[in-house]
């Protein structure tokens, strides 16, 4: 467990990387990886996992509780919830990954300018980041959806842009700390050019913690996007995007709990799996291993 690892001075004399590799990975990681594998399958080939047509109406079996036939139950029009969740994976993950990509790209540009730009540029960009932080994300989403109409794309941008300024700050901090680090000074002392130092040291070291952030952000983005669905800013029906499923099931919560509870658990499971993996990656990187 982590506590034991932390107590151990990370020196070669005590623990060789090889020894660590041989040690069994923590159970949490195994479960998380398994879950992510399932999600990946649903993303690439939902047909493999689904048991029904996710769109087919079956009015006779409306609001059927979970059963061997319908694993997650059915919705008000008799559609199989399990198959809908499986088919909804793609859109949900695309939103999660897309929003992450948007926010990190934006954050990288802003963060780099704020950390590396000249006095004026850095000052201006810092102010822009401040303003973006102060501007309510929800309002941005509302306005964006009002302009472009509800769609996966507008969710991607709403969530992506909304979370960008926070990440931009993190990245700015990372770049600054890399810029002021001993190894950059050592590189300057060796006479390396600015471009080379930027390429070889600052960028990779500033980007490194992002690997973990990406994993965390994917889960958070999906949660966020599903909140937009709740506010009616979600993707167009009859898409089984998870947030849309949750929102649609909400009306039936007292009679058909599964319509709300199961998609909610799926979202939480994904967020948990992604975070677990992200943390593991972060820990691994922190230990200086490849």
């Amino acid at each position: 467990m982590s506590t034991i690892e932390r107590q151990t001075p990370p020196t070669a004399a005590v623990q060789t990387p090889r020894a660590r590799r041989r040690a069994a990975p923590p159970a949490g990681l195994v479960v998380a990886s398994g879950a992510l594998l399932l999600f990946a399958t649903a993303l690439v080939a939902p047909g493999l996992l689904a048991t029904h047509d996710p769109y087919a109406l079956n009015l006779a079996d409306a609001l059927h509780a979970p059963s061997p036939e319908y694993w997650f139950g059915t919705d008000e029009a008799g559609r199989d919830l399990y198959s809908r969740v499986v088919y909804g994976t793609r859109e949900s993950l695309v939103i999660g990954l897309g929003a992450t990509a948007v926010s990190l790209t934006l954050a990288l540009v802003l963060g780099a300018l704020a950390a590396l730009g000249g006095r004026f540029v850095a000052g201006t960009v810092n102010r822009v980041i401040e303003v973006l932080l102060a501007f309510p994300t929800l309002l941005f989403a509302l306005l964006l959806v009002a302009i472009t109409g509800p769609s996966a794309l507008s969710q991607v941008f709403a969530v992506g842009v909304g979370s960008a300024p926070g990440y931009a700050r993190i990245i700015r901090g990372q770049i600054l700390s890399a810029k002021n680090s001993g190894y950059v000074e050592a590189a300057v002392a060796l006479g390396h050019s600015d471009g080379r130092i930027l390429r070889q040291h600052i960028v990779p070291n500033a980007v490194r913690p992002l690997v973990a952030i990406i994993a965390l952000s994917v889960g958070q983005s999906i949660v966020w996007a599903s909140s937009l669905s709740f506010l009616g800013l979600g993707v167009a029906p009859p898409s089984p995007e998870w947030g849309a499923l949750l929102d649609a099931g909400r009306v039936y919560i007292t009679q058909a709990w599964w319509l709300t509870v199961i998609p909610g658990l799926v979202i939480v499971a994904l967020a948990l799996a992604a975070t677990t993996l992200g943390k593991h990656i972060q820990n691994t990187l922190e230990k200086g291993e490849k």
């Binding site: 506590t3 401040e130 309002l139």
Partner: protein, 343 residues
């Protein structure tokens, strides 16, 4: 084994600044301090102004004709309007003017403290906001306070333990952080209001009614803060000064509460500041689920009805909250870590 960090001299605890062992205290120079205050205020003004401008610009980009929206909302119909109908509205709100003029008018009004008049409620925006801000601020503050209680209790109980408890600690943090607000809200409502009858279903602005809405916001926030705090907490638990407290005969709970906790809350303070500022997004969901009055619902309503003065007014308010939250964070920082005062 060779010496690693154990005795490289001025290597302070993580997150602290290098130690400069001079005894010279900085004299209280008024000018730099004054300059810092001026800079802070200037920064706040820029943020408010930027947010107002961004809100104005974004709404100017909204599709459709604002006069049509105003009329359609008043009638509950979505149809085209005749020029005569539109002219009257345009005249009334100055919507026929070029955007630049409208913008300058707006900013001019702001400078004298006039946020404009709501298109739909016919009353000054400042009044619209003042009426709704109370419950929202109460909700947020309660939520932040609750999240601290939950987080501190949980982290102190589980961080740095071995075995099951340690694993459960982190998993619960992560799960809590990943809970969507509306989902959590509905579940809480069903279980505690409807099922157990402990809390009212319609929360309203009452004191007892604030519990579930605040919990809905607090649990994910506690999860987030817990994640950040736990890392620091476990790091601090290993710090020499903690061991030195144990050497003095301090028990485990004492060590955790008196020494370690204080060292691990800085990231959580940052998150709380962010949470105070970013209230609205969570609040609107919670306000809807629990039928509470509040600024979030007003914002959504105003955006839907393109009630531009209200939207912009709320944005300025939120930006102001954000600025205040940041000041509070700065203050809390120096309270928790007095070393930051001179920075």
């Amino acid at each position: 084994m060779t010496r690693t960090s154990s005795n490289s001299p001025p290597r302070p605890a993580p997150g602290t600044r290098p130690v400069v062992p001079t005894l010279r205290r900085s004299p209280t120079l008024t000018w730099p301090r004054l300059r810092r205050i001026v800079e802070k205020i200037g920064g706040a003004v820029v943020v408010l102004f930027g947010a107002a401008t961004a809100a104005f610009a974004a709404q100017a980009a909204l599709p459709g004709d604002r006069a049509t929206v105003i009329l359609n909302i008043r009638a509950g119909q979505a149809i085209e309007r005749t020029p005569a109908e539109l002219a009257q509205i345009n005249e009334q709100y100055g919507l026929q003017n070029p955007l630049v003029v409208q913008y300058l008018d707006y900013i001019g009004g702001l400078l004298v403290g006039d946020l404009g008049t709501s298109y739909q409620q016919f009353k000054p925006v400042s009044e619209v906001i003042l009426q709704q801000i109370g419950p929202t601020v109460a909700l947020t503050l309660t939520a932040v306070a609750l999240s601290w209680l939950i987080m501190i209790a949980w982290v102190t109980l589980t961080a740095g333990r071995t075995g099951r408890l340690a694993g459960a600690g982190a998993v619960v943090d992560t799960t809590a952080a990943g809970l969507p607000h509306y989902w959590l809200g509905i579940i809480l409502l069903l279980v505690f209001s409807l099922g157990l009858g402990w809390f009212p279903v319609i929360s309203g602005p009452s004191a007892i009614g604030i519990v579930l809405p605040a919990l809905t916001l607090a649990i994910p926030l506690a999860g987030f803060m817990g994640q950040a705090t736990r890392t620091e907490f476990e790091r601090s638990l290993e710090q020499p000064f903690v061991i030195s407290a144990r050497m003095r005969g301090m028990g485990d709970t004492g060590v955790r509460l008196r020494h370690v906790l204080r060292h691990s809350v800085l990231p959580a303070i940052t998150l709380s500041g962010w949470a105070l500022g970013a209230t609205i997004s969570g609040a609107v969901v919670v306000e809807t689920v629990f039928s509470r009055p509040g600024i979030g619902k007003v914002l959504v309503g105003a955006v839907n009805s393109q009630d531009l003065p209200v939207v912009t007014g709320i944005v300025i308010l939120i930006a102001a909250l954000y600025v205040v939250a940041n000041l509070l964070v700065d203050l809390a920082y120096t309270l928790v870590d007095p070393r930051l005062k001179s920075a």
